[in-house]
Symmetry: C2
Subunit: 355 residues, 2 copies
Amino acid sequence: MRVTLHDVARIAGVSVSTVSRALSGSGLANRQTEQKILRIAAELGYRPNSLARGLKTKSSRLVGLVLHNLVNASFHVMVEVVQRRLGRAGYQVVLCITGDQPEQEARYLNTLMDHRVDGVIIVPTGANAPLLTALDDGDAPVVTIVRSHSDAKYDAVLAADVEGSYAGTNYLLDLGHRRIGFVVGREDTTSGRERLSGYLRALRERGVPHDPSLTYSGTYDPETGVAACNAFFDRPDPPTALFAANHESTFGVLRALSERRIDAPGKISLLCYEDAPWLRWHTPPVTIVDNAAEAMADLVVDLLMRRMQKVVQGEPRAEAREFRVGAQLVVRESCRDIRAPASTHARRETIAPRT
Amino acid sequence: MRVTLHDVARIAGVSVSTVSRALSGSGLANRQTEQKILRIAAELGYRPNSLARGLKTKSSRLVGLVLHNLVNASFHVMVEVVQRRLGRAGYQVVLCITGDQPEQEARYLNTLMDHRVDGVIIVPTGANAPLLTALDDGDAPVVTIVRSHSDAKYDAVLAADVEGSYAGTNYLLDLGHRRIGFVVGREDTTSGRERLSGYLRALRERGVPHDPSLTYSGTYDPETGVAACNAFFDRPDPPTALFAANHESTFGVLRALSERRIDAPGKISLLCYEDAPWLRWHTPPVTIVDNAAEAMADLVVDLLMRRMQKVVQGEPRAEAREFRVGAQLVVRESCRDIRAPASTHARRETIAPRT
DNA sequence: CTGTTAGCGCATTCAT
DNA sequence: ATGAATGCGCTAACAG
């Protein structure tokens, strides 16, 4: 059995409450005895029992982090940032991977409630409103990331997908491109739709007519990228630029271009959404729209911690807000100005201002 | 306040102990009352308090997972597998990311103890032996993955790095290569040393003299890959094959080869250690030695669960074992037989038998 | 400033 | 088969 408050108290010759007070560092104890108790506790290797403390204080110092997978680069960046920041603040992260399946999500949310987590950060499937409500009402603030929840009851940190896609498309238009192929990903997701709409808006504003056969919807996987390229380049008037609007299809796009010997930026200007190490090291380094996963994670932690603090202090629940974290165009070397000679495309990585 | 056993008991008109028994499904209660209690508990939305239960039973149903980062593809695959499997078994995963820093690791291990985790899966830095001992002695079995711990007190699941590297090198030798550049990564890590030794063993057995200037040590990052290529190809007699023995330097190797217009598999045969999606979709698809991250994770979960069960059943601590999970050569298209015409290199992905 | 007391919610032993 | 009583380890009133 591990050493408890009781043991420390016995050896120090004081009561458990005195030990508790001394260890809490609240200064409610005599300097002398506090020092002595601290010393003895250290000697004995005393460690508080979080379960007992949690049972008493109704705070587990646990935070649930619920999301689809870890393969997507944005997601594992987020998990790293969230874990590191919460860890520093004394919270432990309980990781739950749902595969975007509502039943899994439900199971995990229930378990998180059982463990009396102090808060939850979630990429919601959207199908478990009652559970999220129960958590939030039960003093475990819920904050969503990447997706917002239909009932706008939770703080939400979202990507600026419309703006990012708009900026990316404008960048290509600025380089003189008029026929821009766009690989949507799934059109039934918010991010898919928003990125598409940013693209359409840019075209519209610049008076470039939209050719529907230049947008390709599918799923979030490499095969969609391959299929899109095939569709685009099996035609007499292929696009001069390609915007792969999601991480997964980018794999397929690169493969298809290479197999058809369509080199970037020579014959095609290539722009991708979401960053990943291999895109930076690819040849040519791929110009991207960065969805700022790190910044999103930082913000979501700030929001959650603020809400958890309010719960502790018994303050009323503040109104929920939605935040958009600006996307950034990161210019590398996969796009070129088709109004200029082929050699003048950018050579250094540049960070464009926020959109 | 949430609904407790007490509430259910009151409404069902029985005592808390009866409710506890009914809900535990141990059949120690009357069929009739059990059904009734189950119904009422469901209606009330009763959920057990894990903290209270844990305090009583000394089991939190929490498992700590401690590792360096999530960027490395092997690591995030492992985390996904571990989380999914433990989740299904009713355990929650507390994720801790150390950045390979002993102080961080110490902090996290202490906190995990505080939370009375039932077990720990860790990629140990090696510097916190006392803490691991404390955990393991305190009924939280420790199992290591990727690295073993110097005191061989814990089950360890390791990659078969020597064999994998040996098999990879032999594959290149079989294709007729005699000058094989080898990018070590960090020579002060077990994996770095073991992969190097597999390479050396293969050369020795085949009677190929080892040219020390064809091995390059550095760190685990892309820059090392670039530097290695520069060293190898700034010489009059460059290698005909290249074995990039770690994930991170592979980025740099690919970049450097491309900048020098040394194409694979035409002018160089390229082999990499560790798999990742982008390697499969690269042009050409890169032949790799797969360290079987998924299988390692599966095994480590099996081992941990077995040990946790023994703790529950009060069985004596079994002796620790070390396991090696076989690496697999996955032949794709980045290597060619230099004794044959350039066109005959493999065209389809093939899985070689286990080594 | 310190000790005594009373639970937090649950599982479990001991009666019945 | 069920109820009453106990305590897991801790914090926080409440007294002194």
